[in-house]
């Protein structure tokens, strides 16, 4: 009865208010505004990084200075003054509390307001039932169940608390902030950082390479199935800070990991820039499942404020029989520019992309994926569901290509768009390039509105218009919802309802 629950949730919600719009008053340490070599040095020094890392950043910065902002995406926004941003902000509690009890209570309160606090996460994950003591309270307990979620909470730029870390260490899994990894595991970082998204890959990725503040690092050793879902909550909090996450996940031979990324951000007027880079590497027979729920502040009804989300996400199926699966639910941000991609290098490797992109108000989404088939017998699958409402613009932009030597490459793509209201736009821009005859590519796209018959049927059975829309939309995106880890599914259904508020009637 998930659909009914959704309707109830939609009912509960306060219309016209971004539920997660609040600002936490925590002192933070800011770098001066602007971007220069000195700032790059400042960031590197703040993080106490080795010399090679500083050189890496400076090289990226120098290249970035010669690059131009891309303009091909179907998004429209005032030019960003890159000199008018802070490139580093750290909450003062950088000492790193060992458990939630030690965390600034205001922070915990923030998470509570988010509706997806760490403890709530436990509930959603079914680790404990409501009323039972939280397992977070006795994090030292030696055993770990399969339904647990380890969370690396990122508050602004610095990883504040990492739970379950010790238990993961027992399995040999390294799950820490990237700054820690640079110090503790320099060989792994040197080997893989920038190997999927090169330092100067594109304008935003290069900027990220120069100034990235923090992010997650995951290494799953050979033959290990990561005992729990790994998860990071991103928050952008400090005013006028760009958030430059850098995530690197390496799944060594025969390993498996499922990684969840979810985020919300407080309401404010200044546009905020977010330029993250996520790199995934799978070696032979390894698999990474990467799920995202993105619900940053989309701006107000007139499109004022809101997050600029310019993200480079790419996975490299480097080994044979490896697999990378991206699942994303994009409901927030004023502007989304995001193309999680798979490079299918290893023979028999697989790539997947499941996406729900919802835009309302004046949001602009230009998102999609690239499936680049290089190895033999590689296969990929793309399911994209775009929903645009209000005065928003929602674009799917994707590439499927098979290299000359990628014999027997297979792709199936399904892109569906749903339009709600006559002032929004839905666009589909797929590129399909088959460079050898054994490639089998199928692409299908449809665009339509919610059918009057469906609405009539639902309303005739007593649902009001908004309930009916929520029900139908949840059905429309079902194929993708099913790909989400259990913990995210309920949350996402709720989000879909919230995102579409005020879109009918």
């Amino acid at each position: 009865m998930a659909d009914l629950e959704t309707i109830e949730r939609v009912k509960e919600i306060d219309v016209d208010k971004y539920k997660y719009g609040f600002k936490t008053e925590i002192e933070s340490e800011l770098a001066p505004k602007g971007l220069s070599e000195d700032i790059v040095r400042f960031i590197s020094a703040k993080k106490d990084e080795p010399e090679w890392m500083l050189e890496w950043r400076l090289d990226a910065f120098r290249r970035w200075q010669t690059m131009e902002e891309p303009e091909w995406a179907r998004v429209d926004y005032p030019k960003i003054d890159f000199q008018d941003l802070h490139y580093y902000a750290a909450p003062k509690t950088t000492e790193g509390p060992k458990s939630l009890d030690e965390v600034d209570p205001q922070l915990l309160e923030t998470y509570a307001k988010l509706g997806i606090p760490l403890k709530e996460q436990e509930l959603l994950a079914g680790v404990r039932k409501r009323g039972e003591p939280s397992q977070l309270d006795d994090a030292d307990a030696p055993s770990y169940g399969s339904g647990k979620v380890a969370i690396d909470a990122v508050f602004d730029s610095v990883s504040v608390v990492t739970t379950f870390k010790e238990e993961l260490a027992k399995a040999g899994v390294i799950f820490c902030s990237i700054s820690e990894a640079i110090k503790e595991h320099p060989d792994l970082v040197k080997k893989y950082l920038g190997s999927v998204v090169p330092k100067s890959d594109n304008f935003y990725a290069t900027l990220n390479s120069a100034v990235f503040s923090d992010g997650s690092f995951v290494y799953i050793p050979k033959g290990t199935r990561c005992p729990m879902e790994l998860s990071t909550y991103f928050r952008i909090n400090e005013e006028n800070t760009g958030q430059f996450e850098r995530t690197l996940i390496i799944a060594d031979e025969g390993s498996y990991v499922s990684y969840l990324e979810g985020c919300t951000a407080p309401m404010r007027d200044e546009n905020q820039l977010h330029a993250a880079v996520v790199e995934l590497v799978t070696l032979d027979d390894a698999e990474i499942k990467y799920s995202t729920v993105q619900n940053w502040y989309p701006g107000d009804a007139d499109g004022k404020g809101g997050i600029y989300n310019f993200v480079t996400k790419r996975g490299d199926c480097r080994g044979k029989n490896s697999k990378i699966s991206w699942t994303q639910v994009e409901t927030g941000s004023a502007i989304t520019w995001k193309y999680p991609s798979c490079i299918l290098r290893g023979d028999n490797s697989q790539g997947e992309f499941y996406s729900i992109a919802i835009s309302n108000g004046r949001q602009q989404v230009d998102s999609g994926t690239k499936m680049i088939h290089l190895g033999k017998n590689t296969s990929s699958r793309i399911i994209s569901k775009g929903i645009s409402a209000g005065r928003s613009s929602n674009t799917y932009r994707g590439l499927v290509s098979a290299h000359r030597k990628a014999t027997n490459a297979r792709n199936f793509t399904q892109c569906d768009s749903l339009l709600i209201g006559d002032a929004c736009g839905a666009h589909t821009v797929p590129y399909i390039e088959a460079k050898n005859s054994s490639a089998t590519f199928e692409h299908e796209a449809t665009t339509s509105k919610i059918s009057d018959d469906q609405m009539f049927y639902a309303q005739q059975r007593g649902l009001n218009e908004e309930e009916a829309v929520a029900l139908i939309v949840n059905g429309f995106v079902r194929d993708v919802l099913q790909q989400l880890p259990m913990e995210f599914m309920a949350e996402t259904q709720k989000l879909i309802g919230i995102s579409l508020e005020g879109s009918v009637g």
Binding site: R404, D422, I432, S437, E444
Partner: protein, 442 residues
């Protein structure tokens, strides 16, 4: 128009050769040659950095200078006639207008008797053009942003201006023949004005000897009045060394029917673009085509369908058979403007890759700003289905024959879009002939 060191030899020849060529070309102010040349010298030949030309880089593909053909050429009449007789429309009762190297040849043509159909040579009519010609030519084609149209307008040497005022009983065929000789660029123009309620069936044949080296540009403008019907079937069988650049621009009135089918087997490089704009409601446009390419042929079909008004229907169906190292490209954009409600748009592009190194690139695009629409597209690429082949062979059909059957069925689906049964048969026969003259992996 300063000399630009970055120009390719082809571009340089087009820009610098204009002054000399202009004197020899038909002259009239309404032809607007100078403006077009200025636009071309600004644009240059399209290249892969221009998104719409990503897969067809003309700067690269038009290799070397192809000076514009301005004069009437002296050709072997028998050779021209034997080429013209290869037209697949030969058995259909139709009148013909034959153009040789870009000039109308009345002695080779059999023009329709005066009636509902009026056909003029643009060159002959230049100085004394009727209003429907001088006021319409160039109004459907946007001059500034398309280099091919600009080049064609600057250099058009001749073409057909057709005005249909009623129901034309007899189909009309335009035959464009090219002769062997020095490399050259031939620019031909077609204008079709179909009055309200009138109908027109137009065939178009492009044919040349295999060794002729030329760039052929054909810009066709079609204006359909309310309730008008237009059936267009084109066969592009240019020479193996030819570059064929065709732009079809159509503006459709209300309750009109527009059908355009093209079959392409010729040319080293071909790019055929269709731009359809709806000016009135309840109109249907059907654009379809077949590409049969082998060797290193490069065939590009680019469509832009602009649903500017509500209640219109568009259908596109393209089938490409690519052998050897042939490269096929399909780019189709369906635009639905705000308030163009109740739009129904469907598009399908399918490629059959026969040669191991054949390539198919496609970019079906939807750009939708209205909500009450039903739009969709599909694109597929793949080899012949092994299972189907096995089925046929298990029933004793030799491999070659089984393949031919499957390919014919694949192509036939697009040919089905043509309403005239006799034309369908002729097209299927053309496809079968292509198959038998190319070994299909046997």
């Amino acid at each position: 128009m300063s000399a630009n060191p970055n120009r390719t030899p082809a571009e340089e020849t087009f820009v610098s050769g204009f002054a000399a060529a202009e004197a020899a070309l038909p002259s009239a102010d309404w032809l607007k040659r100078k403006q077009a040349l200025a636009a071309f010298s600004e644009l240059g030949l399209p290249h892969r950095r221009i998104e719409a030309w990503k897969y067809t880089d003309l700067r690269n593909l038009v290799d070397g200078a192809y000076p514009a053909q301005t004069e009437t050429t002296l050709v072997d009449v028998e050779q021209v006639q034997s080429l013209a007789q290869q037209s697949i429309f030969g058995d259909l009762g139709r009148s013909t207008a034959v153009f040789v190297d870009g000039r109308f040849r009345s002695e080779l043509s059999s023009l329709p008797s005066k009636g509902a159909i009026e056909l003029l040579s643009i060159s002959d009519a230049a100085e004394n053009a009727p209003d429907w010609l001088s006021n319409t030519l160039g109004t459907v084609v946007p001059q500034e942003d398309d280099a091919v149209s600009a080049l064609n307008t600057a250099y058009m040497s001749d073409g057909a201006a057709i005005h249909i005022t009623g129901e034309s009983k007899e189909p009309l065929e335009l035959v464009f023949v090219h002769s062997a000789g020095q490399p050259r660029t031939v620019s031909q123009r077609v204008l079709v004005v179909v009055d309200a309620g009138a109908s027109c069936e137009l065939f178009e044949t492009h044919i040349a000897p295999a060794d002729a080296r030329y760039v052929s540009t054909v810009v066709t403008e079609v204006v359909l009045g309310d309730g008008a019907t237009f059936d267009h079937v084109k066969t592009q069988r240019d020479g193996a060394e030819a570059v064929h650049l065709a732009n079809l621009h159509a503006k459709l009135g209300a309750d009109a029917t527009f059908n355009s089918f093209s079959a392409t087997t010729g040319g080293r490089v071909s790019r055929q673009q269709a731009f359809v704009e709806y000016a009135g409601e309840h109109t249907t446009a059907n654009i379809s085509g077949v590409y049969l390419l082998s060797g290193t042929q490069h065939g590009d079909s680019t469509l832009v369908v602009d649903h500017a008004v509500p209640n219109c229907v568009s259908r596109e169906m393209f089938k490409l058979v690519l052998d050897d190292q042939a490269r096929g490209i399909f780019q189709g954009k369906v635009m639905v403007r705000p308030h163009a409600q109740k739009t129904d748009g469907k598009q399908m592009a399918q490629a059959l890759l026969l040669g191991p190194d054949a390539e198919f690139d496609s970019k079906p695009e939807l750009e939708i700003f209205a909500d009450d629409v039903v739009c969709g597209h599909g694109a597929t690429a793949g080899e012949l289905d092994e299972e189907l082949l096995f089925y046929l062979r298990a029933r004793g059909i030799p491999k070659d024959q089984a393949m031919a059957l499957l390919i014919a069925a694949f192509v036939g689906e697009a040919v089905e879009e043509v309403s005239n049964e006799a034309v369908r048969d002729a097209l299927n026969e053309m496809a079968t002939n292509w198959l038998t003259t190319h070994k299909t992996g046997a």
